[in-house]
């Protein structure tokens, strides 16, 4: 490690809030692409956005009721995910419309509800745009538990989730419990959204689920390697984004997502150059 790198890392780690922010970044960086890879495979890459908006209603409700906003957001996001999946499984033709209604209803409900909250809209901002540096120790415990659940379930159910995400009709013909598996993935998405919203904000939640996977698939050949590379990219851009935001004095959420998009763009250009040189 170079002297300057050592200096940087020591300074960042001097502060409790930065240590907690980095742990949160690793947890989110691992969990978001672990769910995202299955959503991308199912062509539901933007569902995270819809669930993020539903979570806004939950956060606002938590603020109005003076109850833990993260917990209330978790409940509303899970309910939203389950409702959306049940609509999709019965009436696929209207699924996109249902997602749009959920999307707008979530944000509208959140905006109206938060106007009744004692602190008004100020508290909502940290959920809309992320506020990783205000992560508390109890937040870390919640994020840790949720991240472990997400990672464990995606690994344990990996073969079945891959099958149902790749070809739902074949999965049904094989006798797999398609609806429960899709509901499981929907709930995992809701959990991931709630963990990620404190880090990157609900407006960028989907980016952390999708962009690391998009970057990984540029260089991988198998689903397994895309899963592993996706969570590696997610963790690296999350940590480097938090560190960079400290020195550049930029919002961590946006910085993380720009790092992820930058990595995607660099990989894409490098790949094109390699092809051109062959």
């Amino acid at each position: 490690m170079s002297a300057s790198a050592a200096l940087l890392s020591i300074e960042v780690l001097d502060y409790d809030f930065m240590r907690r922010a980095l742990v949160a970044a690793v947890l989110v960086g691992l969990a978001a692409p672990a769910t995202g890879v299955f959503l991308v495979q199912r062509r539901l890459a933007l569902i995270g956005d819809g669930l993020g908006h539903v979570a806004v209603t939950g956060v606002a409700l938590g603020l109005v009721l003076d109850r833990a906003p993260v917990f209330v957001a978790l409940i509303t996001a899970v309910i939203g995910a389950v409702v959306l999946e049940l609509i999709r499984s019965r009436r696929e033709a209207v699924a996109e419309m249902a997602l749009a209604i959920l999307f707008y209803g979530g944000i509208a409900g959140g905006v109206v509800l938060v106007s009744r909250a004692p602190a008004g809209g100020r508290s909502l901002n940290q959920y809309l745009f992320g506020s990783i540096t205000t992560t508390s120790t109890s937040d870390l415990v919640t994020f840790g538990v949720l991240a472990v659940v997400v990672m464990t379930v995606t690994v344990a159910l990996g073969p079945a989730l891959f099958t149902v995400s790749s070809d739902e009709e074949f999965a049904r013909a094989s006798g797999l419990p398609v609806v429960p598996l899709n509901l499981t993935l929907a709930v995992l998405s809701a959990l991931t959204v709630v963990i990620s919203m404190r880090v990157v904000g609900v407006l960028l939640v989907s980016a952390l689920m999708v962009v690391p996977v998009a970057a990984a698939q540029l260089v991988t050949r198998s689903f397994r390697s895309t899963y592993l590379a996706g969570i590696l990219v997610g963790a690296v851009v999350s940590v480097s984004g938090v560190v960079a935001s400290y020195y550049l004095d930029t919002p961590p959420g946006g910085t993380i997502v720009l790092f992820a998009i930058g990595l995607f763009a660099v990989t894409l250009i490098a790949q094109a150059l390699v092809r051109a040189l062959r």
Binding site: S166, F170, R172, A173, S174, G175, Q217, F223
Partner: protein
């Protein structure tokens, strides 16, 4: 003391007045019994209902009355789904996330290993065997999106075989496949049939499977119009869906007892 009579063989699949459709509306109704080892071609024009019948018998669309049994068990309580391999009428969907041929074929084994199961040596051997059967041994590590259309169809057959299926249900396996790949697929089906695998194949025409098909079932307007040896057809069929069908193939099952409509001499 007399010997007890041998029990009749349990059919692979048995449909009795089975109706299938969408959103409660019956689109096709069929009586059909297929015995082990048969190669049954479901023939008919586009929109005749042949794909509806196989999707219905697999539980992929609404089951609207009548009976469906797999290996003697009602479809709702038939748990050994790996005994039936399904090959849909399409290439592998162009997936946004890469997956190797090995991974895709392995997904045909999931019903065997169970929801929380892991792939073991026996599963890996079965996957390798299925890939070898369709002649794609050298492409195991290739992302499926880099395979040609014909190779992707063969990959779907391998996926259906990976669970050691005893019967394959194939929906138009030759549609959109070039002549060379059709020959390769037909050779695979010939070998499978010779090894006792039951085949139920939706086809527009017997074509590449001439000499392999042991029985033709002609569908029109959601009904079975003819069920018998290939090469014959009902006069009421709108066009000849079986122009190359062979003759004099043995077939079994109780379809011979059913009335045949307007058979040509």
């Amino acid at each position: 003391m007399t010997q007890p009579e041998a029990l009749p063989p349990v059919p692979v699949v048995r449909l009795v007045g089975a109706g299938f459709g969408y959103e409660g509306v019956v689109a096709a109704r069929a009586d059909l019994v297929v015995q082990a080892g048969e190669v049954v071609a479901l023939l008919g024009a586009n929109g005749s209902g042949k794909s509806t019948i196989i999707k219905g018998m697999l539980g992929l669309i609404d089951h609207l009355g009548g009976e469906v049994e797999w290996f003697g068990r009602p479809m709702a309580s038939f748990r050994e789904r790996w005994r039936v391999g399904y090959v849909p009428q399409r290439e592998l969907a162009a997936s946004p996330v890469p997956a190797t041929l090995d991974e895709v074929v392995r997904s045909g084994r999931v019903a065997r290993i169970g929801l929380l199961g892991r792939y073991r040596a026996a599963d890996r051997r079965a996957v390798a065997r299925a890939i070898r059967t369709v002649g794609l041994d050298e492409r195991r590590r290739t992302p499926v999106r880099q395979l040609s259309g014909g190779q992707q169809r063969r990959a779907l057959v391998a996926r259906a075989l990976a669970g050691d299926a005893e019967v394959l249900v194939l929906d138009e396996p030759f549609a959109g496949v070039d002549h060379e790949s059709q020959e390769a697929l037909a050779a695979t089906f010939r070998d499978l049939a010779a090894n006792g695998v039951t085949l139920i194949v939706v086809l527009h025409e017997v074509g590449p499977l001439e000499g392999v098909v042991t029985r033709s079932v002609c569908i029109d307007n959601g009904e079975v119009l003819y069920d018998g040896p290939p090469g014959q057809r009902p006069a009421s069929m709108p066009d000849d869906p079986d122009p190359h069908g062979g003759h004099d193939h043995h077939h079994s099952g109780d379809h011979e007892q059913r009335p045949r409509l307007g058979l040509l001499p």
